[in-house]
Amino acid sequence: MRLHKKICKRLILLFMTFWLSGCAPFTENKLIEEISPVTFLSISKGDKGKLTVSTIMPPLSKEKKFVMSQEVSLLKEGVQKYNLNFYQEMKSGQMRMLVISDELGRDGIMSIINVLLTDPDISPRIYLVIVKGNFDEYLESQLDKDENFDYSFYRMLKHYEEKNQGELTVVNLHEFKNLLYTPYSDPFLPVFKLEEDGVNYEGTALFKDDKLVETISSLDDRIFQLINNDHYLVVLPIQKFEIVLGHVRSKVIVDIDSSYSTMTYTVNIDTRIEEYRGEKQLFDPKQLENMKKDIETHLEKQTHELVKKMQELKVDPLQLGIQTKRPFSKPMEEKKWIEMFEKMDIKIKYNINIDPLTDANSKRQNL
């Protein structure tokens, strides 16, 4: 009797291991030699409303890589076309980036975002990037020089995402989706420009709903990083005063009056001077104070222009609308907020705290 029981148990165990190990006819075949887990997809506008989907194949095995590009009307149709064209099956589980051309961005990318959200294989952490220029051609030209171009590009994005390193905007799918679908906010994405020497970060693309409407760059983008995205910048060069501020940390306090007609946007900054090539004697407290005032007014003016631009475009990437939410009252409708936002008088105020130059101080004064 006992023997019988033992055999029975073992058979059950064997049966289970067999089925659960995936050697079953009804699961997907994911043998590593037979699949190509692509790391990125680049999507751009094709002819007549079609999409051009391209990627580097094969992503894993040590074969000669090539750029595969398909013109399709549906995104997932591209996956199917790849499978019909290449001996390995394409899988999207390792996807890390989605590169979208800026023309496509201007038309709206809602449908693409929805495709990514529905597929449980695609991580909500994939990076979304807008690219200006022909990415396919660029890939072709890069393959000879740098085979692992896609990987290094991904590492770069990952580096700046972690712990908010400042410098550049990095947005993943989840963040984009949240900004897109929640009221009082509009999404934004990083923009890279393709040039002969490589992929250069240009700035931040502002979206109205799912459509790209404006790209902000240089000082505007720096300010955007400072007041919204990272609240930190490694360097902030201000050419006008021939000065470079380093390790800039900011704290933003937004105050909105009860009638929602004026908003005071206060930015408190802690920083230190990293470089100065101007004429002023910054070791003198008075002159330093003057310098501070100058920088403050300059940044205030710039930020005001930036916010003005956002108001004109009716986009709210700073999520200012959230400030109107109160714990004990009904949130206002998004339409109403946008109308208000357009007319709102937004006052910008900067308070800069610059560490005095201690080390060099005595030397210069003696001169």
Partner: protein, 376 residues
């Protein structure tokens, strides 16, 4: 296979087990979809309020558990209700158990299909889950109750991962506004009953009286279990509000699992798969317990109490349940609209059973004049 003694009673379990039983039976399937139906931040208060209501229910339950009758099991019930009524009630109970079993198993296997094995038919998954459960249930009630410990440690630890969502930049206090309801819609009632139904489960402890060591601390332990559930529910709900924002919550079908997909780890990429696999322990525990209850109830309902329990009997019961589940899967679960019907049915059935079972028992106890047995 020898004569099984599925319902034999060698040892009794102390308050800690009672606490874990309450907690794990309340955290079955609904918590995975709950934020999707609750949506509004002010539902936090409803969660807490119903939690307190559930505390009252547990108070009634502990009154019953403290009587001598409860530790007599079947004979105790017969003494209270009479033989015929017990048979009738257990016949009705069969449907409640079958419904609950089906909803949690089918729901879970659908989640597994969506996130882990998209090419597999859910009927196969149901088959494997029941196979596991048959094995556990075949060990008898004692071992199944003991299994709650494993199930608790496997599933509770995964909740702690969600602390990650309570820190900025994901957490923004404004996601929790408005804190009080400005209007009360019809859907909110559904959410209310869902909460009530999610807290159900401990009413099955009524039948586990013989295996629980009861004393004057029992109520306290039951309360701890319930309080832990309230904390877990509120915690997960707030985390999902932070993560998705109130507006997006209604659009995501399985919010908790989608949240776990956002975790990152340099070694494992699909943490959701690991969490789901661990969640399976809880499911197997609950389903095996319900299988045993189903088997017991069917024996009572068909007047087979005098016959000894056997592995074959259990197997045939499991087989019946499997067929029932496959039918439900094909007829209801696979199409989204009919699935909501089944879900709503379970929501109502769960609420009713949790509300009525302890109440009725205590009322009958009062009427019959059953006294507490001397507390040990």
């Amino acid at each position: 296979m020898g004569t099984y003694q599925l319902f034999k009673k060698n040892e009794t379990y102390n308050g800690l087990y009672a606490m874990l039983l309450v907690n794990r039976l309340q955290m079955l399937y609904f918590f995975l979809i709950m934020p999707n139906i609750l949506i509004h931040p002010y539902m936090i208060w409803v969660l807490i309020a119903v939690g307190i209501l559930s505390q009252l229910n547990l108070f009634l339950l502990s009154k019953w558990l403290l009587t001598r009758l409860s530790s007599n099991g079947y004979n105790g019930f017969v003494q209270m209700f009479g033989k015929k009524l017990v048979r009738f009630l257990s016949f009705i109970g069969l449907f409640f158990i079958l419904l609950k079993l089906s909803v949690i198993t089918l729901g879970f296997s659908q989640i597994v299909q969506t996130f882990m094995l998209p090419a597999t038919d859910t009927n196969f998954l149901v088959f494997f889950i029941l196979l596991f459960c048959f094995y556990v249930a075949g060990k008898g009630v004692e071992h199944t109750i003991r299994f709650v410990l494993i199930s608790f440690f496997c599933t509770f630890s995964m909740i702690t991962f969600f602390v990650f969502f309570f820190f900025p930049p994901i957490a923004q206090l404004s996601d929790l506004y408005p804190l009080i309801p400005m209007e009360w819609k019809v859907e909110n009632w559904k959410a209310f009953f869902l909460i009530l139904s999610s807290y159900s489960g401990p009413e099955f402890l009524v039948f586990l009286g013989p295996w629980l060591k009861t004393n004057n601390k029992t109520f306290r332990y039951l309360c701890y279990g319930n309080a832990l559930t309230v904390v877990e529910y509120v915690f997960l709900f707030i985390a999902s509000l932070f993560f998705f924002g109130s507006n997006y919550l209604s659009k995501t079908q399985y919010p908790i699992i989608n949240m776990s997909r956002y975790f990152q780890n340099p070694v494992f990429e699909r943490i959701d798969m690991i969490l789901l696999s661990f969640e399976l322990f809880n499911l197997v525990f609950a389903v095996s317990l319900f299988l045993l209850l189903f088997y017991g109830a069917s024996k009572i309902a068909f007047g087979k109490m005098s016959k000894p329990t056997s592995g074959k009997g259990l197997l045939s019961n499991v087989f019946l349940i499997f067929i029932g589940m496959v039918l439900m899967n094909e007829l209801f679960w696979k199409s989204e609209e009919k699935q909501t019907f089944l879900l709503n049915l379970q929501i109502i059935a769960g609420s009713i059973s949790y509300f009525l079972v302890p109440l009725v028992i205590v009322l009958v106890m009062k009427k019959e004049g059953v006294k507490k047995h001397a507390s040990t």
